[in-house]
């Protein structure tokens, strides 16, 4: 598929246009039979195939080696997946031809009754220029490096508490789950506290995240119902903050002004959805993948333990090699992209993790080099939508690895790892046997 699409690959899809006044619409009616196991990722790409996340680096390599910079799929009513760094970057930088209106691929597309571009339902990640810059500038200050740095001690205390809660450890015998008992609790606790939500609701936040990102093939009506539950939860939190004002991100969103006016209820809620969803299983996945790597690579674990200053480079190498986040765009207007005839409303996946493994940009791209000094990785995206929470994510990842390695200088994999499904890639169950304690 280097130049043109072979029309014999599949029959053209019968595509419908968005009906009027729909919140969501299906371009091709959903049929479970269309979503079986993938046989060829070049022509039938599906990131939600359960074999994809465990084997993604091999899938990307195969596509690159076969000279396919952009994979295609009829699934989800039509979807393209650029694989090379160049192609991913070209989409990320092109806000004319690609809209951010929806960044989570599913068989349903946002309809004209959903908040339209350039705002979108979860600003600023769903926003396009010129509105995007206004909405983003509201949220940049609370996530700027100097605002995030003071959280380090609290994150460290949280990690210590989680390690303590693992109970008595018998080296060589005790098995803990580094994803379930550790990684998954860290970002959810921190963003919940930043927003001023009850700590007791952490399991509920993970459910919201799961419903948004891991059930993309659920019936559209069920997905809408899940979104309504999330909206209702956030409305209750907003009301609580109005009744009991306190200094946190929710309060900030309720009082910050855009063009001399407070934000609309939809904007506040949308931004809260973004902060809650985007900040949780992304970092949880990065922490899990990093510990997964260390559990299988004793030399890197030893180096990190004995030479903590290598973390400056190791942190970025974890992010490069195990970047958790694949974003998405929708085609804004018909465009020929790297020889691919993209049509308005086609989905485009943006696998930054694949770009991070492109040998044309990274030497020995498929090797983890713990002290890699030159590392222009795109784990937090490229262009105007660079992850707003990147400074927080980095801090959480760094502290989480440091504390785990300090407590457990030696550990190894102790059973089957289960991986997430969909656009966020990371281990959901990660049993490790502790071999040595501090």
């Amino acid at each position: 598929m280097t130049d043109t699409i072979d029309p014999t690959i599949s029959e053209p899809l019968a595509l419908s246009d968005s009906p009027e006044n729909a919140i969501a619409w299906e371009r091709v009616p959903y049929n479970a039979a269309d979503y079986g196991p993938v046989s060829d990722f070049a022509t039938d790409f599906d990131h939600a195939d359960k074999e994809y996340n465990p084997n993604a680096p091999e899938v990307w390599k195969e596509l690159r080696d076969s000279g396919c910079p952009v994979a295609h799929s009829d699934r989800y009513g039509g979807m393209w997946t650029p694989i090379t760094h160049e192609a991913v970057q070209d989409v990320a930088y092109d806000t004319e031809n690609f809209t951010s209106r929806s960044v989570v691929v599913s068989h349903a597309r946002p309809g004209d009754a959903a908040i339209p571009a350039p705002i979108g339902v979860v600003p600023p990640i769903s926003s396009d220029p010129p509105f995007h810059n206004l909405a983003r500038r509201l949220l940049l200050p609370p996530f700027a490096p100097k605002q995030i740095e003071p959280w380090e001690d609290e994150i460290r205390a949280l990690c210590t508490r989680l390690l303590d809660e693992m109970g008595d450890i018998t080296p060589g015998d005790t098995v803990v789950d580094a994803a379930i008992q550790y990684a998954q609790h860290i970002p959810v606790n921190v963003i919940g506290r930043m927003l001023g939500f009850p700590e007791a609701d952490e399991a509920l936040f993970r459910e919201f995240v799961h419903n948004t990102l891991e059930t993309i093939n659920a019936p559209t009506a069920d997905r809408q119902e899940n979104f309504q539950k999330l909206d209702a939860y956030l409305d209750a939190q907003v009301q609580d903050h109005i009744d009991n004002p306190r200094e946190d991100l929710t309060d900030y969103l309720l009082n910050v002004e855009l063009g001399g006016e407070k934000l609309s209820q939809e904007h506040v809620r949308g931004s809260m959805v973004l902060l809650l969803i985007a900040g949780i299983d992304t970092t949880w996945s990065a922490i899990g993948s990093s510990l997964w790597h260390l559990a299988q690579t004793p030399a890197d674990l030893e180096r990190l333990h004995d030479e903590p200053e290598v973390m400056t480079f190791a942190l970025e190498e974890f992010l490069r090699a195990y970047a958790p986040v694949t974003m998405a765009r929708m085609v804004a207007k018909d465009v020929d992209f790297h020889g691919c005839p993209m049509k308005k409303d086609d989905w485009v996946l943006l696998p930054f993790p694949a770009a991070n493994r492109d040998p044309r940009v990274f030497e020995d791209a498929d090797q983890f080099i713990i002290d890699r000094e030159s590392n222009r990785h795109a784990a937090f995206g490229l262009g105007i939508h660079r992850c707003l929470g990147s400074n927080l994510a980095r801090l959480e990842l760094k502290v989480a690895i440091e504390e785990f390695v300090k407590r457990f200088p030696k550990f190894e994999l102790a059973g089957d790892v289960s991986w997430s499904v969909g656009q966020i890639r990371g281990p959901r169950a990660l049993p490790v046997r502790i071999l040595e304690t501090a």
Binding site: R137, A144, S374, R376, L382, G383, I384, R386, S390, N391
Partner: protein, 65 residues
Amino acid sequence: MRVHLDVEKCQGHNRCYALAPELFDVDDYGQAVLLGNGSVSPDLEDKARLAASNCPEYAITITDS
């Protein structure tokens, strides 16, 4: 050596500020700010190279003078 920052390309990844805080600061929005006039003293040349070769947006360049 001289280091240059293209503020139009910078998206606030903050790699330069982390690796070479003697040469770069960040503003209230997390965008990079070049400290001084970009002239790099010999003891900071390695840090300047690191900042450049870790910018995902290729916003930092280095020239000899």
